[in-house]
Symmetry: C2
Subunit: 114 residues, 2 copies
């Protein structure tokens, strides 16, 4: 269970999209859209993985990993994703920040005992 939450086997350099957000109250179709967008993102060229979590107060961080800036731009322009982005802007989030960063190195990791 733990393992699927971590993006794995990534080789630097690659890109990270850091999305930090505060949810507004009420679901308003959010959960279903997150499932659909997560599945759709995974089908995009250049998609490498995703890590996401949110606390009980609705403050969340999602980091998705991509092979190139072009892959990020293509996903950003995806029609279904654009609809979701618009509802995110209007309805689901009180506040968000979206940053694009180039992962240059991995400093450390600890893997679970098996």
């Amino acid at each position: 269970m733990t393992d699927s939450r971590f993006a794995k086997n990534l080789e630097a350099p690659y890109y990270a999209v850091i999305f930090t957000s505060q949810r507004s109250s009420g679901d308003n179709g959010y959960s279903r859209t997150v499932e659909r967008m997560t599945a759709l993102a995974a089908q995009q060229p250049g998609y490498l993985g995703i890590e996401s979590t949110r606390n009980a107060e609705g403050f969340g961080i999602t980091v998705s990993y991509w092979a190139s800036l072009e892959a990020i731009a293509a996903w950003r322009a995806n029609a279904a994703h654009r609809v979701a982005q618009e509802t995110g802007q209007s309805t689901w989030y009180e506040h968000y920040e979206l940053r694009v960063a180039k992962v240059e190195r991995v400093y450390a990791s600890k893997l679970p005992n098996r």
Copy 2:
């Protein structure tokens, strides 16, 4: 309340340290150390901000922001921080990944209504 959870007024380029982790069970001094390390990090040269969240299953993402790779290396080598890193490795985390990335641009943000 929401606002203090977001890192603000950052001007690209800067660096992000993306720390993704699964907590093990039991506190074992973790909460107190997080408070101390968060306060100590904020005093380091080149510290720009931090965003952090963890869900009920103990899966967390913390992103700290820094002015340079040198600032990150100095914080990583800080003596008190090294003690915390060792206990993190041995006790507090089942699994973690630590990535360093250069934030090249900010795509979008939505600020809360005031």
